[in-house]
Amino acid sequence: MTYSIDFLRDLYKTMLRIRLCEESIVEPILNREVLCPCHLYSGEEAIATGLGASLHERDYVFSNHRSHGHFIAKGGSVEEMLAEIYGRDAGCSRGRGGSMHLIAPEVGMMGSAPIVSGTISLAVGAALASSIRKDDRVAVSFFGDGATGEGVLYESLNFAALMKLPIVFVCENNYYATHMPIRDCRVPNNIRMIADPFSIENYEVDGNDVLQVYEAGKKAIEKCRRGEGPVFLECLTYRFRGHVGPDDNIQGNHTDIRPKEEIEEWLKKDPILLFEKYLLGNAVLDQSILDNIIKEIDNEVASAHSFAKSSPLPERKDLMNYVFR
């Protein structure tokens, strides 16, 4: 498979943008400038980036509690995201949602919600809208391995299969549902096999390999556009930080019970390092270009923080705005 340099550079930039954003929030969380719960996406960037690159702007994405990466990869504004996380009126949800409710309908990011599995059926509905209107849009539903414990996922799979809806179910399996190792909450089999009884095509994907995710996503989305959906992708990955906030050990709670060796093993498979290796190894970009990109994104994130922190807070008198349209 050959890719243009621009395409590969953009993938790299997106992954980096997500990572640097996530890491830039750690300090403000620790010093309590950021108060809302943030579920950081560090370590899982390849999934949102690969899928995002295979979608059109008018396609739909619905996300879960760990939504920063999905929002950025779909084209949401980093400034508005950070402003939302700081609880500002300039935030994408006007300070009413916080980190867990990121939305940018202008680029097809339809929203995110922390009720586990809560947005899967919504994504199915967006796919249903597309199939009724025959307007060729595809919906992507992002959820974690924990969502496989919720019944609505199976209802959604059945209905999507029954109606042949253009939806890609993307399970980001990071092996932990909050604190709980997957082996303690599921019988040991491949998550993707839950799609089998619904005759939904399903694939296991290395969720830390952005090009593999992109190829799987592209194939799935093309299938959906041909009216042969849905497709289920299980992307194997690992989060580098705790379930919520920075690594709990940093906060002194010691509630991150994942074994140290396991974390170290996965750090070696950092999706950004792997992709850098690919870019350098195939002589796509050299180190000095990578360094420049890092500098560029770093500046971008820093200026987004300045924007967010200097933008006004919502006003008390506007508390009741937006209850109804």
């Binding site: 739909y60 619905f62 935030g91 994408c92 949800s93 006007r94 300070g95 009413r96 949602g97 409710h101 939305i103 940018a104 309908p105 339809m110 929203g111 919600a113 009720i115 809560g118 947005t119 899967i120 059926s121 919504l122 994504a123 199915v124 509905g125 967006a126 796919a127 249903l128 809208a129 597309s130 199939s131 009724i132 209107r133 849009r137 919906a139 019944g151 609505v152 209802e155 959604s156 059945n158 209905f159 029954l162 109606m163 705005n321 937006y322 209850v323 109804f324 349209r325």
Partner: protein
């Protein structure tokens, strides 16, 4: 206006669907039994033939995902009506209704609203017992971001359905199967009954009687019986459970000084309680007597007909309640 035309309640809803689906291609109906007259009465009559299976979707028994799909379709620009032929089953859909639909516009700073109708049918009596009989409007009315309408007449059934479909917010439309055969005048043209606007069914001086949905029917009977006894009741049907037309009720209470609220839900923590609370906050000095609620006892719906008869309030219970507030002496 062909105002002389009589139409059954169920057919009034059906006419609203026909007119709205013809006028707006984004309107569609989904839920269990849309192909079956047994589930939804005559409300879906002729829709499948006219609009096709893309827009009249009979769904699997999956209330949670089906309601969620309607929410998602609404976010994507459609105007879905999702039907729950028995509102009891709608409890499976609390997450998409409350967590998602009701909150979406607020928690996303007004970026996207959820223009959908969540239609739940109260389907009680006939010894169907506790899980086939419940009136759950107070639960939905409790939630910010939801509107709840409860039409009692064919005219309102059509006009409120049209208003609910056109509303840019999620509207819970609750009707009572006991109303389906009722008939009254229904104009053939497209019209709205404004959500949040009640109506005075009969003017009167002595007592304000507020009754909604099927209770408004019983109240009409009670009012006739009371009139024969020389008691002049003002009967108000708010038609919308929430937002409540409190101004209409307050004006009436200021005139009569006495209030009875009749509600088909449970008495405690219920819709009637909210009406009473708002009146006591805003018209306390007008009240000449303690208010009385006519509602269900705090008990699940029974099966046996003898117990059903004891359970559901009748017109007689309303008559008794009105006489009670009138008999109060300071």
């Amino acid at each position: 206006m062909s105002s002389g035309r009589k139409l059954q309640y169920a057919l009034a809803i059906n006419e609203a669907f026909h007119q709205m689906m013809a006028a707006d291609r984004s309107v569609f109906l989904m839920g269990q039994g849309t192909k079956s007259p047994w589930y939804v009465g005559k409300t879906a009559q002729g829709l499948l033939d006219r609009f096709g299976k893309d827009r009249v979707i009979d769904t699997p028994v999956s209330e949670n995902a089906m309601t969620g799909a309607a929410v998602g379709a609404a976010l994507a620009g459609m105007k879905p009506i999702v039907v729950h032929p028995r509102i009891d089953f709608m409890l499976y859909a609390f997450d998409p209704i409350i967590n998602q639909a009701a909150n979406w516009h607020y928690m996303n700073g007004g970026k996207l609203s959820v223009p959908m109708v969540i239609w739940g049918i109260i389907n009680r009596g006939g010894e169907q017992a506790a899980q086939h009989s419940q009136a759950l409007h107070a639960m939905f009315a409790h939630v910010p971001g939801l509107k709840v309408v409860m039409p009692a007449t064919s005219y309102d059934a059509k006009g409120l359905m049209i208003a609910a479909i056109r509303d840019p917010n999620p509207v819970v439309y609750i009707d009572d199967r006991w109303l389906y055969a009722c008939e009254d005048n229904v104009p053939a043209d497209v019209y709205e009954v404004e959500i949040g606007k009640g109506v005075i069914r009969k003017e009167g001086r002595d007592v304000t009687l507020v009754a909604i949905s099927y209770m408004a029917h019983l109240a009409t009977k009670a009012v006739q019986e009371l009139a024969a006894a020389g008691i002049d009741v003002e009967l108000i049907d708010p038609r919308t459970a929430k937002p409540l037309d409190i101004e209409l009720i307050l004006r009436s209470v200021e005139k009569t000084g006495r209030l009875v609220v009749a509600d088909g839900g449970w008495c405690s923590w219920g819709w009637a309680s909210e009406v009473v609370a708002q009146v006591s906050e805003r018209a306390f000095s007008s009240l000449k007597a303690p208010v009385v609620r006519v509602a269900l006892p705090d008990c699940p719906a029974p099966a046996s007909s003898v117990l059903e008869d004891a359970y559901y309030p009748s017109a007689k219970d309303i008559v008794k309640a009105v006489k009670k507030v009138l008999s109060f002496k300071c």
